[in-house]
């Protein structure tokens, strides 16, 4: 795939990410007549939650569940909206002038928009246990990607460890697809049941209540569950062989071929941070999230964030937040078209409904400190540079005060993953070690390119705007 000839040199709106928030936002601005471009690095729309919704080989919809099918409506509405879509296209840069750096099929372009809506969603929280870098240990998110796009379930002896709605959903999907799970190690801290209890009423009236309990029951009928897990260690010579676990005073070990880890998702902040958008620490969700107004406007004029990238809210709320951002965009760029799209009040009400029960989930699945901040000195934190928790603590002892200075000492966060796999761990570890809050310690200063771009692609950027037009319009 390369840039199509129909691509314009500038757009009213560029939406980044084709998950529920991006699909809903782009469809809404395009319906209002704004020249809209939706960019996504996958070849098919859907994002993570509706990954491969149009292409999945799993024809039996009962495996992935009814919620997954909801993605079809979003895709159909988007396809009728008249928005342009660039699939298989990487966004590697965004600046405060709203110039978006794109690469596609070995070429790169810089395209400007009046509004940019970032809908890059969530990523899995790092889960740095001893041995988490061994082959055979992977994340549940990666496992689910394989399931949705290729219909693959892990072969060999499998265990899941961690906590959160995705763990139970994936476990149920594996079982429905005919897979077998040797055991699930539930790391939900027992104290969380108490701190979450006050939020239970809201949850009982949410759709998650029935669905969630049903999933857990479905899994528990056939899989051995160890609850209250307080320590996990993956062992093996060149690949995973054994998982050693502790749950309070109980201990045990299990031989495994595959261990899948998951302890919730956090906003994917790399592009927003690289653009210079202000973020703050969320002490309930334990992550950085952008500072936004009710519509999703960030600290940079003309750049908005919608969906889980704005703070974790789930797929249904992501679509509503995408619409809310789009409505604000239309109100600013083409107010006379507001009548053609859903009203702000309706969307706001639906958003409130979808957010019911969220506080309960946030408190219940707030991961334990022992699984966020590695206690063993030998546990690897930065996978790219193979830096351990002990090495980071040693650097703090000789003067590294925050993640950005740590780069100079240990090169943490400077590898190809750009800190995605270690950023939160480094911030929380340094905060803990120095007796400061994560807000005070801060995060890596991120920069474009947020995704690698080849020298050839960079050199291929047309000379100036007129050249861009000349090339694009042939």
């Amino acid at each position: 795939m390369s840039f199509p000839e129909s691509l314009h040199a500038a757009y009213d709106v560029i939406v980044i990410g084709a998950g529920p928030a991006g699909l809903a936002a782009a469809a809404t601005t395009a319906e209002a007549g704004l020249r809209t471009l939706l960019v996504d690095e996958n070849s098919a729309p859907g994002g993570q939650i509706y990954r491969a919704i149009t292409t999945s080989p799993l024809k039996n919809s009962s495996i992935l569940g009814k919620d997954y099918e909801a993605g079809n409506d979003l895709v159909h509405t988007f396809e009728k909206s008249g928005a342009d879509r660039l699939a298989g296209c990487t966004v590697w840069s965004l600046d405060r002038e709203r110039v978006v750096g794109l690469s596609c099929g070995g070429e790169a372009r810089l395209i400007k928009a009046e509004r940019v809506i970032i809908a890059t969603g969530a990523m899995e929280r790092p889960f740095p246990i001893p041995g988490w870098t061994l082959p055979g240990v992977m994340t549940i998110g990666a496992g689910q990607t394989l399931l949705k796009s290729s219909g693959l379930i892990p072969s060999g002896r499998l265990a899941l460890a961690g906590q959160g709605p995705l763990l139970w959903l994936y476990a149920a999907q594996i079982l429905r697809a005919g897979g077998h799970i040797a055991a699930i190690f539930d790391t939900t801290p027992l104290a969380n049941y108490i701190s979450a209890a006050p939020h239970l009423p809201g949850f009982v009236f949410s759709p998650y209540w029935i669905k969630g309990l049903g999933l857990i029951r479905e899994v528990k009928r056939v899989v051995k569950i160890v609850t209250g897990v307080t320590r996990l260690e993956a062992q093996g010579k060149n690949k995973l062989q054994t998982l050693v676990w502790e749950a309070g005073s109980r201990t045990g070990s299990i031989d495994l071929d595959v261990l899948m880890l998951h302890q919730g998702v956090v906003p994917h902040v790399n592009l927003a941070m690289a653009a210079g958008i202000k973020h703050e620490w969320d002490d309930i969700q334990l992550c950085f999230r952008p500072v936004l107004d009710e519509s999703g406007n960030s600290s940079i004029k003309g750049i908005m964030i919608a969906g889980d990238g704005a703070g974790i809210g789930g797929a249904e709320s992501a679509a509503e937040r995408g619409r809310l951002a789009a409505i604000d965009t239309v109100a600013n760029l083409r107010p006379d078209a507001l009548a053609q799209i859903p009203s702000r009040d309706n969307v706001r009400n639906r958003l409130a409904q979808t957010m019911r029960g969220r506080a309960f989930l946030d408190h219940l699945y707030r991961p334990s400190k022992v699984f966020r901040i590695p206690q063993d000195a030998s546990t690897i934190v930065c996978r790219c540079e193979e830096i351990t928790a002990g090495e980071i603590r040693a650097s703090i002892a000789i003067g590294a005060t925050g993640p950005n200075q740590l780069k100079a000492y240990r090169r943490t966060g400077m590898g190809p993953c750009q800190g995605r796999l270690c950023g939160l761990t480094v911030t929380e570890l340094m905060a803990d070690e120095r007796g400061k809050s994560p807000e005070e310690i801060g995060y890596y200063r991120l920069r474009s390119p947020v995704k690698p771009i080849s020298l050839a692609e960079l050199a291929s950027i047309p000379q100036d705007e007129t050249a861009i037009k000349a090339v694009v319009r042939g």
């Binding site: 810089l110 005060t401 750009q418 020298l455």
Partner: protein, 378 residues
């Protein structure tokens, strides 16, 4: 109130080096840094340790610095990541080689022998991957590169161990002179000393203006890029002058690409924006010159906030306005290598009242005939 012998404003390589050398001479300096040592240009520059192609006036400082670089471990108990594989200026064609020939001849006449003219054969031996069409260049064999953040941090740490006080995260609010003493208010504290050093880098112009000695300093944001690992193919740092490029491969195989292309600087908020329309030109030059790099990937890019003077040499030495005030800023994108020797020279000047190194070319009042402020518009 806290008293000291010298107050240094700015915790870059220059401020930290001056603090260390003052402490080594038995003086008590206090260094005040608004962020943390090495936060800006000193920590994020290309790390070039270069005598090659320096302004004539800077050469004595550069040589004094080189002598320190070669024994850097002894001074700061850290190797600073310094390696010495030389720096090579490549001529892309004969028209670029001619002025290089003249320059080396002029340096030789003045008694400087660190730059050597090389022919195509020696160029190919030093830099085998360079395009066949390049007819020669200039090499400075003792030059090399170091890790800038590691170096600045090492100077900071050793200055503190030798008795300097380093105060980070505190911005200087006001500076007053009274009865032969400077009174510097920073945060909730007042610091006092008979001597003040302005080593505030990109913010040095603001401080100089506050002290009634304005200079036409431009705040700029030079950009750098790092590639993914490629097979080792080049040892020296390579620079071009016609088209802007500096090029350095690290031991881990990654390659740093720079050359002084400028992004946008926001010194009030410590932010910078990259300008990819400029970095594209940088990439294009590498594409042309080093075919081996064509498959490489850019994995990181960044910019630092730096001071640039109209004549591209620093403001350095005693103030012409106040006793007990010294300037050490405006190094115009090439101050890193000068840090060690300039700190030594400044400490000598402050402690003994004199130095053998001529600082005449760096006088703060050299711009007075020019229309100051003009440059700020660019």
């Amino acid at each position: 109130m806290q008293t000291a012998d010298v107050i240094i404003v700015g915790g870059g390589i220059h401020g930290c080096s001056t603090a260390l050398h003052l402490a080594l001479r038995g003086l008590k300096p206090i260094l005040i840094e608004k962020d943390y040592a090495g936060r800006h240009a000193s920590g994020v520059n290309a790390g070039g340790v270069r005598q090659l192609m320096r302004h004539i006036a800077e050469i004595p400082l550069s040589i004094r610095s080189m002598d320190i670089w070669e024994k850097i471990q002894d001074l700061v108990e850290d190797d600073c990541g310094f390696d010495s594989h030389g720096q090579v200026l490549v001529a892309e064609d004969e028209s670029e080689l001619a002025p290089m020939r003249d320059r080396v001849a002029e340096l030789n006449l003045r008694g400087f022998n660190h730059e050597e003219l090389i022919d195509a054969k020696e160029l190919r031996r030093l830099v085998p991957a360079v395009a066949e069409s390049c007819p020669g260049g200039v090499v400075s064999r003792r030059d090399g590169a170091a890790n800038p953040a590691q170096t600045t941090t090492a100077f900071r740490r050793m200055a503190e161990r030798r008795g300097a006080r380093i105060i980070e995260g505190v911005r200087v609010d006001t500076v007053k002179r009274d009865g032969g003493h400077w009174y510097v208010t920073a945060g909730s504290e007042v610091y006092s000393a008979p001597v003040l050093v302005n080593a505030a880098g990109a913010w040095g112009g603001k401080l100089a203006a506050m002290l009634g000695e304005p200079v036409p300093l431009e705040v700029v944001a030079p950009m750098l890029m790092i590639t993914s690992r490629v097979p080792t193919f080049i040892k020296p740092v390579v620079i071009l002058r016609g088209r802007k490029l500096s090029f350095k491969q690290f031991e881990n195989g990654t390659v740093m690409i720079g050359g002084g292309y400028l992004g946008r600087a926001y010194p009030d908020t410590n932010e910078t924006d990259l300008d990819w329309t400029q970095l594209k030109n940088n990439a294009r030059t590498v594409w042309d010159l080093f075919p081996i790099m064509r498959e490489a990937t850019i994995v990181r890019a960044w910019a630092g906030i730096e001071a640039k003077m109209p004549d591209d040499i620093p403001v350095l030495g005693p103030s012409r306005k106040h006793d007990g005030l010294f300037h050490q800023f405006g190094f115009s994108l090439h101050g890193f290598q000068l840090g060690p020797g300039t700190g030594d020279t400044m400490a000598e000047l402050i402690a003994t009242g004199k130095t053998n190194i001529s600082l005449e070319a760096f006088r703060p009042d050299r711009f007075e005939t020019a229309d100051i402020g003009d440059k700020h518009e660019h």
